[in-house]
């Protein structure tokens, strides 16, 4: 079953590795990669908890709307689980 997720539209201060252009966008989990130390802590030399990391696949139509160059092309990005929430199909 396809699992849709939305990238949380958070704007926390500091070092994050969730691109701005994907925040609030809905995609599907392409594969899960296991747990990796949270870069938001690593960046400051803090002890980092290992957090699940997923490859999320978005359609260009979802990311860029009507301006998409080719709506069915896709974009995959690695997003940490604490940035994702369940979503309905867009």
């Amino acid at each position: 079953m396809t699992q849709y997720v939305r990238v949380k539209p958070m704007m926390p201060p500091g070092h994050v590795r969730t691109p701005m252009y994907l925040r609030g966008k809905i995609g599907v989990i392409e594969r899960s990669l296991g747990a990796f130390p949270n870069p938001e802590d690593l960046a400051y030399g803090n002890t980092a908890q290992a957090l699940p990391l997923h490859r999320v696949r978005f359609t260009m139509a979802q990311v860029w709307g009507a301006d998409a160059e080719a709506p069915n092309d896709t974009l995959d990005a690695e997003i940490y689980e604490h940035w994702l929430e369940p979503a309905d199909a867009p």
């Binding site: 590795r17 969730t18 691109p19 252009y21 990669l33 990796f36 870069p39 990391l53 490859r55 990311v63 860029w64 160059e69 080719a70 069915n72 092309d73 896709t74 974009l75 995959d76 990005a77 690695e78 997003i79 940490y80």
Partner: protein, 213 residues
């Protein structure tokens, strides 16, 4: 014309423009790097020779490593399956010292064209392919590839039919990516060594295709 520069007042006797001397003061981060490096050496954590050796190791890594991986994937179905399952382990098992690199291989076919970018910085499979080209780190490549990949591809001389889906991979976290370009036609009788010569750096980033013999 290679020597047809606009401002002839700035040409050396050999006809090339002078390059400005790099004699500005050190930036904050350059100063920081020197300070940390000197401290690490003074405290015996590392040595200047170890740092130089590490730079040499990194400089020795080149796209030809990746080309050997691709050529083997084209000819060895068992290796191909292992590479698609876990590209890091498959590459390590082939004998490449890529350290703890987490590598994902994505494969181009008639239906799919993959392309790699790092919008946040310059993530690149350096441990396998060496340093990335300068354009890979440019703001233009990083911002345009996720926005208009087909236009970027066209500028690299790659025009895809509408029936081919473009998959852009933004290396945002811990994975690094290598594109396995489609094997060119007419290469059925070529050896792995000959095939590796067809695999360009750009074809493994996805901004190019493998050369045709």
């Amino acid at each position: 014309m290679p020597h047809d520069h606009h401002d002839h007042d700035h040409l050396s006797p050999s006809g090339h423009p002078y390059r400005a001397d790099d004699d500005t003061s050190l930036s904050y981060w350059q100063t920081m790097e020197i300070a940390v490096r000197e401290l690490l050496v003074e405290k015996g954590v590392t040595t200047a020779a170890e740092i130089a050796a590490q730079i040499e190791t990194m400089d020795a890594r080149a796209p030809s490593n990746g080309a050997k991986v691709v050529a083997r994937a084209w000819t060895d179905p068992v290796f191909h399956a292992a590479l698609m399952e876990n590209a890091g382990d498959a590459t390590r098992n082939m004998g490449f010292d890529i350290g703890p690199l987490h590598l994902i291989a994505v494969e181009n076919t008639d239906d799919v064209h993959n392309m790699i970018v790092c919008t946040l910085c310059s993530c690149y499979p350096r441990n396998l392919l060496g340093l990335p080209p300068d354009w890979y780190k440019s703001r233009a490549y990083r911002s345009r590839t996720v926005r208009e990949p087909r236009s970027v591809l066209a500028e690299f001389g790659v025009t895809l039919p509408d029936t081919t889906k473009v998959r852009v991979h933004d290396s945002t976290a811990d994975m690094r990516y290598i594109v396995i370009p489609a094997r060119p036609q007419g290469t059925e009788n070529m050896s792995q060594t000959e095939l590796a010569d067809l695999v360009t750096r750009d074809s493994m980033i996805g901004t190019g295709v493998a050369k045709t013999p």
